[in-house]
Symmetry: C2
Subunit: 266 residues, 2 copies
């Protein structure tokens, strides 16, 4: 069961059909983004599952997460309908999750970066309800879920961490629903950028200068907008002096105004 789970995972990312490679942006992203955070500072944020664990349990979790999976930009980690057996802990890079509806229409349902765990929606139905695609060259660890559960039965702090992780996922999805249900285009994009900014900061990167890993179209899909609308909102933000945008490079200049726009529906 354990072994077959691992095989399953490997198949899942190996059977990949090399889709259109993603735009490179090598120079820009290398130059600007990941000024790698000091290892120690980054560590505690690494994985919420590790918070507050004794060294022995920490060791066990890390042992559980030994096998690394490398994905090139554009590759799929798991697909809708794939049998669920593991959660995936993103060690480097970033992913989008795409939800597909029966009629073929799809939506980007989430953007996930280093340190986060994806695949949680598969627990309930034993198969993944969405597709995870690498937005850049990335590395993940598979966390076989039976072993995660076993560890949860054994260590109650770890158990709590797992539950918090799942619960936060619920909260996050609710916040997105809130955003889609109540906000206008500008506010949605603003909220998205501020969220990104905060998550980068938490990971030790610059909070006011970062590179978008998604196209306008993907961002639009995530925010329930069309790509043209996203582009126009970016332009408006730049015109108003809230930020500077150059293709995918974002510099936040006036976070306060952006926050005001998002917070109060004005």
């Amino acid at each position: 069961m354990q072994a077959s789970a691992m095989v399953q995972v490997q198949n899942s990312y190996r059977e990949f059909v090399p889709a259109r490679p993603r735009p490179a942006l090598r120079d820009v992203s290398q130059a600007i983004a990941p000024a790698p955070a000091p290892r120690t500072a980054c560590r505690p944020k690494d994985l919420s599952l590790l918070e507050g664990l004794d060294t022995e349990t920490t060791r066990q979790v890390e042992e559980l997460a030994t096998a690394r999976i490398r994905l090139k930009s554009g590759q799929t980690l798991f697909r809708t309908g794939d049998r669920f057996s593991s959660l995936y802990w993103i060690r480097s890079g970033s992913f989008k999750t795409v939800t597909l509806l029966e009629d073929g229409c799809d939506q980007v349902g989430g953007y996930h970066m280093m340190g986060e765990v994806i695949g949680t929606d598969g627990i309930g139905s034993d198969s993944h309800g969405c597709q995870a695609v690498a937005l850049e060259d990335s590395e993940v660890c598979a966390l076989p879920f039976d072993r995660v559960e076993a560890l949860g039965r054994q260590n109650c702090r770890f158990q709590r961490n797992l539950h918090r992780l799942l619960s936060r996922e619920i909260t996050r999805a609710r916040v997105v629903a809130m955003l889609l249900g109540t906000m206008q285009a500008d506010q949605r994009l603003g909220a998205f950028l501020l969220d990104l900014s905060q998550r980068y900061q938490e990971r030790g990167y610059s909070s006011c200068e970062f590179v978008l890993r998604m196209t306008r179209s993907e961002i639009g899909s995530y925010l329930g907008l069309k790509l043209e609308t996203v582009s126009r909102s970016f332009s408006r933000f730049q015109r108003e002096g809230f930020l500077k945008v150059e293709r995918r490079v974002i510099k936040l200049l006036d976070r306060a105004s952006l926050k005001r726009l998002v917070d109060c529906s004005q």
Copy 2:
């Protein structure tokens, strides 16, 4: 800790300020809805947490859920910011959950009926991220979460059930986000009605004739629409012969057409 948790809960629903009582609809709802399902048929659907448990563990779960809390229509079970200590298992009646944003703008984030468990968003932050309001006279059981976790450590089937429950909550929230992000007004309302229909059926009630527990305004909030738009969509559905609507009483006449409308963006 256990005891204080219970006190907390009791305070939470007792300190209630009797808001405007909800419209009664007593006659209609009594007449139409709950043709009470046979107890045996209903039982397995009662609580997904109980699925597949041995009798001893089932007993333990039921023991854990002894204290019943009664709420009148319009009363609040928990509020945003309340300290989290328990999940709540809805034994009868129904609830809406309302998410509040900092700026006071709020949104109905969910509709929950008999058999479902609410309060899961509190696990991650130790305080509730939304407010739960009874949509009719209702009864819930508090499930103190430490004891739920303890039982999870002890019984791996129960643990799995808990994880499935949390995961399904994630999936459900994602589906709502999908709905809000990609569908138009008619489709959203159609999807909402079909979802209700299915959930009533699963509980042994009629799937084609039911009473809405929410106002047009609440439905609109849930679907990211204004109440007028909801009303217009209802009228359109009726005009097209998909259903018959009379205030809050819905009779689905042509489920197939409704489903077609929802599925294919036409």
